[in-house]
Subunit: 282 residues, 2 copies
């Protein structure tokens, strides 16, 4: 990573007060935002969900890169000190383009931190990646894990129904358990050492997945692993916020404030109103 510079004409303290920008195609990235809030409660945060153009997973790589750079430009306009790409598809497809675009702002994706955590938990181990069909198709976790541990064994399982379960607010209970069990059965081929939650929606299902998977399997939550990497990046760059008061939060979306508030509230774990969501154009 290039050494961090501060915004021109801004002293270090003011720079540290700038928010961290978090971007996703929809509400799923709010699990990453929540993990960052828990890891770094003093940080100011601004979240942008590109709800008008979701899902990214079914779009072409060129479109995804264009959408991601437009979203990043919008967050940059607000003034941010770091960018978190809380979207697996954009992390897989557009990270290099975003790093080139953002220059002096560190850009953190969700795939690298998840892969690092899984490999650390079990070197030479067997990893099961649960993700959307789009992420599996991009083979991004496979590449990231192999790069970190050429001896690792990797299996990827598309689990579209887990996305709807999380959005419907049915993350616990018999239906969730039956669906998780079915996907783990479909992925069979011997018990894995780790299960990587390779979709931003899946941390909501972590308890159910852990419960069905059973003891001895490490469940890697890429929201919390990404939050820890954000902390490391800010500390390394000397740009953590120092304050006695908790950080602020702004929520931006490109469409559907009401749905964003209703579903997003489940992801953040607190009630949101459509008035908490600012609509923006990209």
């Amino acid at each position: 990573m290039a050494p961090l510079r501060h915004n021109a004409g801004m002293n270090r303290e003011t720079h540290c007060d700038l928010p961290i920008g978090v971007f996703d195609s929809g509400v799923g990235g709010l699990t990453v935002l929540k993990a960052i809030q828990e890891e770094l409660p003093l940080e100011n945060l601004v979240y942008l969900g590109d709800t008008a153009r979701l899902p990214y997973g079914t779009k072409s790589p060129a479109s995804i890169e264009r959408y991601a750079t437009q979203a990043a430009a919008k967050l940059r306009e607000q003034g941010i000190k770091a960018l978190v790409v809380a979207c697996n598809t954009a992390s897989a497809v557009a990270l290099a383009a975003l790093r080139a675009q953002m220059a002096d702002v560190p850009v953190i994706g969700v795939i690298g931190p998840g892969a690092t955590a899984a490999v650390a938990a079990k070197p030479g181990g067997k990893h099961l990646v649960l993700a959307t069909e789009a992420t599996v198709g991009l083979r991004a976790y496979r590449a990231a894990i192999s790069e970190r541990d050429p001896g690792a064994e990797i299996q990827e399982q598309a689990c579209e129904m887990l996305v709807s379960l999380a959005e419907e607010g049915w993350s616990n209970g018999d239906i969730a358990r039956a669906i998780v069990r079915r996907y783990l059965d479909e992925a069979a081929g011997g018990s894995p050492d780790t299960i990587i939650l390779g979709c931003t929606h899946f941390p909501l299902l972590k308890d159910t997945i852990r419960d069905i998977a059973g003891d001895g399997i490490v469940v890697v939550d890429s929201a919390s692993t990404t939050a820890r990497v954000v902390r490391e990046v800010l500390e390394t760059g000397g740009i953590t916020r120092k304050s006695d008061s908790p950080g602020s939060l702004r929520l931006l979306a490109t469409d559907g404030a009401t749905r964003f508030a209703r579903v997003g509230g489940q992801f953040l774990g607190r009630d949101l109103s459509h008035r908490d969501v600012e609509l923006v154009d990209l």
Copy 2:
């Protein structure tokens, strides 16, 4: 409906050989296409799935109208004798605009036929509409039923998980049964007389829904009711195809031919390859 005219410079026989255009935001409308094939096996058909821009349900009405008119223009370019809007969202939002645009080509939506069939099955009855959150939000079935039967009682239930069930190919079995039961319980308030399948994905779940709902409840499948309206419109206009050979089928999509083929095959009830799908730009 305006009297049907034939394309300039084309005799009646050639006009009758033109395909029926069927349009949806994705693959769901293939249930309507399949019902039309069963109802009218001699008709040539051309299907357009606007997979690059799905889902329409989360877009603004202005965007939906723009997308729908672009899709209709693309089908019109191919030469069609009728247009079926096999998408609940587009039927709710853009039918008037499409009828103005298409002028001499009859335009048939999916909401009117479903509402007509439900009201015919039980005048003054109690109707439960199962639909996506977007369709429920548009209150389109409520309006269409009330218009046909002011004494009808109408309840609408959003059932997002049924969409993923159908796309995942899990339309039967314990998980499907548990999910359908939960939605019917949530919609409680006394047993309805009819259940209207107000989403093009739901005909795949018809057996499960009928089974859970129990005897005495009429399940209105808007795919087959729409197909019957298409037959009436063609016969009334004298433009049914006369032939000894079955009709042809072309499948167009705006993105993702592989996924279209895989999921669409389940909807059509036969294997499709990505080579069966032509990609087009709108």
